[in-house]
Symmetry: C2
Subunit: 139 residues, 2 copies
């Protein structure tokens, strides 16, 4: 038995790829368009970690996505949580839970999927602007 992926639905595939790939840094592994089913699937993974994937499903016909409380988040370990949060912030992504402790941060995808970022190894030394940054909303 082997974990393959977690699937999340997305309303705008370009906005989602911009977020997951350009901003967060995942790679697009493959993509499947179904004219008949009117959906697109895109499989993403962290660089060098192709086996554990996230599948984006884009249904071409509009659907309402309520924010299910039952689903929590996707979690990624990162090499430098400050560098990634800075990159995300510069790209206009809200850091809902800033890495005040040098260890953990939360952001959200364009469809409000929570994404947890965890510093690899020991926490980084507390550092501005993160130490003074307030949390925003929920995640």
């Amino acid at each position: 038995m082997k974990y393959l992926h977690t699937m999340v639905r997305v309303t705008d595939i370009d906005a989602s790829l911009d977020f997951y790939c350009n901003k967060l840094g995942l790679n697009e592994l493959n993509r499947y368009d179904s004219e008949q089913g009117r959906f697109t699937l895109v499989f993403l993974a962290a660089p060098g970690d192709d086996e554990a994937q996230v599948e984006l499903t884009h249904n071409w016909d509009p659907e309402e996505y309520d924010e299910g409380r039952n689903f929590g988040h996707l979690a990624y370990q990162v090499d430098d949580i400050y560098a990634l949060c800075q990159k995300l912030m510069d790209a206009g992504v809200t850091i809902h839970r800033p890495p005040r402790d040098g260890h953990m941060a939360f952001v959200r995808s364009p469809d409000n999927i929570s994404i947890e970022l965890l510093q690899k190894g020991a926490s980084l030394s507390p550092q501005e602007p993160w130490v003074s940054m307030e949390s925003e909303g929920h995640w």
Copy 2:
């Protein structure tokens, strides 16, 4: 960057462990009870595949979990999809999408998290009782 886990919230930790471990076959890797935070975390993984985990969060105080359409499913590759679906069915789990094609099935956790099961390698030959089994509900 490395995928760590997907977190899902659960209302009943015993029912959830019965489903995810006893029925589905995942292993419990570790568990953390927070008296102060009034929550329990349990980390699960497929046997021999400890790195890609599912985190169950059980908040001790009741919460309503609506079924968010934005979250899709967790997916696992399995060695024998018929054997696992039979085991699940014998344990009282509804096979919402039976493996009629010898390739894919869907079940749901006690909190309605969809779980996709995919046959490893080539599809199995179509076989009863699966071929004649109707889908039930949605997943």
